[in-house]
Subunit: 494 residues, 2 copies
Amino acid sequence: MDVYISGVGMTKFGRSKEPLQKMMAEAASSALKEAQLERVDAIYMGVMNVEEFVGDSNFATLLADTLGLTGIPSTRVETASSTGAGAFEAAFYAVASGHMKHVLVLAGEKMTHLPTAKTTRILSEVIDRSERRYGATMPALAAMIAQKYAREFNLSLLKLEDILSQVAIKNHSNGCFNPYAQFRKIITKEDYLKSQMVAYPLRLYDCAPITDGASAIILTSQPTPIKVSGIGHATDTAAVRHRASFTSFNSTKEAAQKAYIMSQLNPSDIQWAEVHDAFTLFEIIGTEDLGFFPPGNGWKALEEGITHLRGRLPINPSGGLKARGHPVGASGLAQLVEIIYQLRGEAGRERQLERAEIGLAQSIGGLGNNNLVTILERADRKRIVGKGWSPDYHPEINVSKKMSTPPPEGIGILETFTTLYATPEGFRSPLALGFVKTEGGEMVLACNPDYRSPKELKMGKKVYLKTREGLYVFEKFTFWNRLKHWFKGSSKSP
Amino acid sequence: MDVYISGVGMTKFGRSKEPLQKMMAEAASSALKEAQLERVDAIYMGVMNVEEFVGDSNFATLLADTLGLTGIPSTRVETASSTGAGAFEAAFYAVASGHMKHVLVLAGEKMTHLPTAKTTRILSEVIDRSERRYGATMPALAAMIAQKYAREFNLSLLKLEDILSQVAIKNHSNGCFNPYAQFRKIITKEDYLKSQMVAYPLRLYDCAPITDGASAIILTSQPTPIKVSGIGHATDTAAVRHRASFTSFNSTKEAAQKAYIMSQLNPSDIQWAEVHDAFTLFEIIGTEDLGFFPPGNGWKALEEGITHLRGRLPINPSGGLKARGHPVGASGLAQLVEIIYQLRGEAGRERQLERAEIGLAQSIGGLGNNNLVTILERADRKRIVGKGWSPDYHPEINVSKKMSTPPPEGIGILETFTTLYATPEGFRSPLALGFVKTEGGEMVLACNPDYRSPKELKMGKKVYLKTREGLYVFEKFTFWNRLKHWFKGSSKSP
């Protein structure tokens, strides 16, 4: 059964004094009003970590009660930072099954009331325990991915910096035209360069902010002008080090392939996209993973203006997570609300796209390991018959190798690294972290409490891997280390 | 599209040293093996509060990775203590939509590693904040419901105690025959009476235990001998005091009605049921809410042996939550695994029912406010055509009245009360709690730090309601109070 959209709603994103359930009720009320409904058949609601952010559990019930909608199913759905898209997917299947006619999808998060170090710690819990225990945060892992991207595609760090700043500048510029955005001000390259370093080479302006907000969509089996044409969803390994590549996300590729197959569309059919720019580079990688541009070419499209608001393939006309804000549970659904505003021609004079008949949203859960791709289109759009989906890439699924014994101490190659300044609760700042490939070909995460400045480290160089208190530590590779290694052999492992 | 079962799996419930993801993987492996599948199209997994019990987030990803099943959708579903049934429902719609062929449903929880006061605090977060802040726990609210039940149906407290002990004795006796049960020993009335008071009049043996465990089911669109015939799901008010009745759960009634309508069945068609006996009385209330027995008659059916293992309508042949154990996220799915074992005739000589063609499971989320009812049947069962569903009750939906001003101090009636001995972290024990109806007809929860013994309080008696530090406090109604009330008028409210 086909699934359509009959109403949407959103709160302004930013800092709110309202309790989360009230913000979500506000978004829901707008959506219900648009759909001219007083009751629905079910509620699917997404919150990422209401237990720790707010201290509540059983939130699906509280929300139904707040809405005055007791007596119907109310289900909480969670897929880390893609939760809003995950709730939309679950609701989609409920309507597509024919068992439900009208379903309310709601998503939200309240985050700004906590100290930043606590928020950082809570957000870090989406990271695999084996990497989190080193103090690795989302920005730290994203920073190491950024360094690796620069190395893989031969970009100087100055060039990388320039590209990343362009993403931030573009999305802030788009955000100016979005009445729901947290930030509605232009930023310059100078502002970008002045912003504090969070995890080298990522600055504050490379990271989506901490935000409160909620969004809502009504799905229906009754035809309306806007139709859900495809949904794809896929996971990747929990630990980043178990992946074959650091510079693309298989979970996006797999999810995109599923969405393209369901909708019988190709990347070239997509007119614009909302891409999960929790970190500036993730927008670039996203446009490559979605098949819009070849690997390593996403930044060129940005430079050429293709992904600008008036470009051939606008990316994040809403301002993205960067400028609209990133209430982690809500973002995946807010992207779809934005797509719907565009499809309806209601995005406002400055933001409205000329061609807005088919849009795509990509949402990332965790560090790129629970991603969704959703395609919405105008039901009256003319389809070129027989075109269909012809895949031009075949993602290879990563499977975590379960190591029987952890790699021993010894020589390794520093694949990528970061110096983390905004550490989570309980970790000293700054903290140097790096992925090291051992001589046995295994990838480990390691820290180095001695190196303070990122200038002292270099990717691709030999380091010496030691263990200390159950953690891997990497040190500069010296003659003395080599000698020790030679004599003692490889024995210890954490 | 019809939905069938092709495999099930379960860990032994109890205390486990394994990490939660390993327990869940164990259950999943059995289910996949039974279904002869190596991959599935999606994973729906239920955990209630993995954030606080285990300290992990993004658990759907971790689980997919642990199973070696990256690359497919993995979605976490949560509906408080009915989470396992909620995950089953979401997966049901995914298969029923025709978009998924084989779906793995997984549910689990790990709880035994934490101190009891902390577990109690975490479990209490499912309770509405307005009632939780008094120190109300799940046993405290259940105890007040038990007292109210006794009063409403004219049972002496001695009689109530006898009925409750019979539920515990029956379910422990059934649990003896269940290899997956946490407790496999007969208990006597003497044992019951010796068990410590948790929240007067509920003893330790009235409460389901703290448990680790996991369960798994594979749903498929390919016909197998076992079919999902109906699912219903409904919420009720977050706060207990906003409900018209304390002695039945509208969420069960609504969910049951939906399940009966979907399956075109009547309560009289059901041959046996797994009923959510988190507290002994909840089994009695459940059998009434499900339409098996009229209100106030569930305990008679128990006394007459109707609900015994060899009775006409066996309830909880598995041992129920009481004896099988209650890993909060897993229980709702474990009930369905048990129904499937019975439908297949695989429940073992002692436990296997003679008539096992159509079984029902009822799962309670929170304090009776996010409940699911699921009906499974043998696909080859002969249906009496044209019988269908003829409702004999019409549940009235509770809607929380949003009070503009809280009720003032003054005279009220003590509707029900408990003395709580096992208080959550941060509350002194014992703690007297009561629901008080004000002269304006509004229900409030109040505490009384002075009364220690439940013997000093009586339901239906006048009390004096005061406010202290933003909380309602009730006191014995005295001439002095009446005088104060007369002179001062009603002014303060929290």
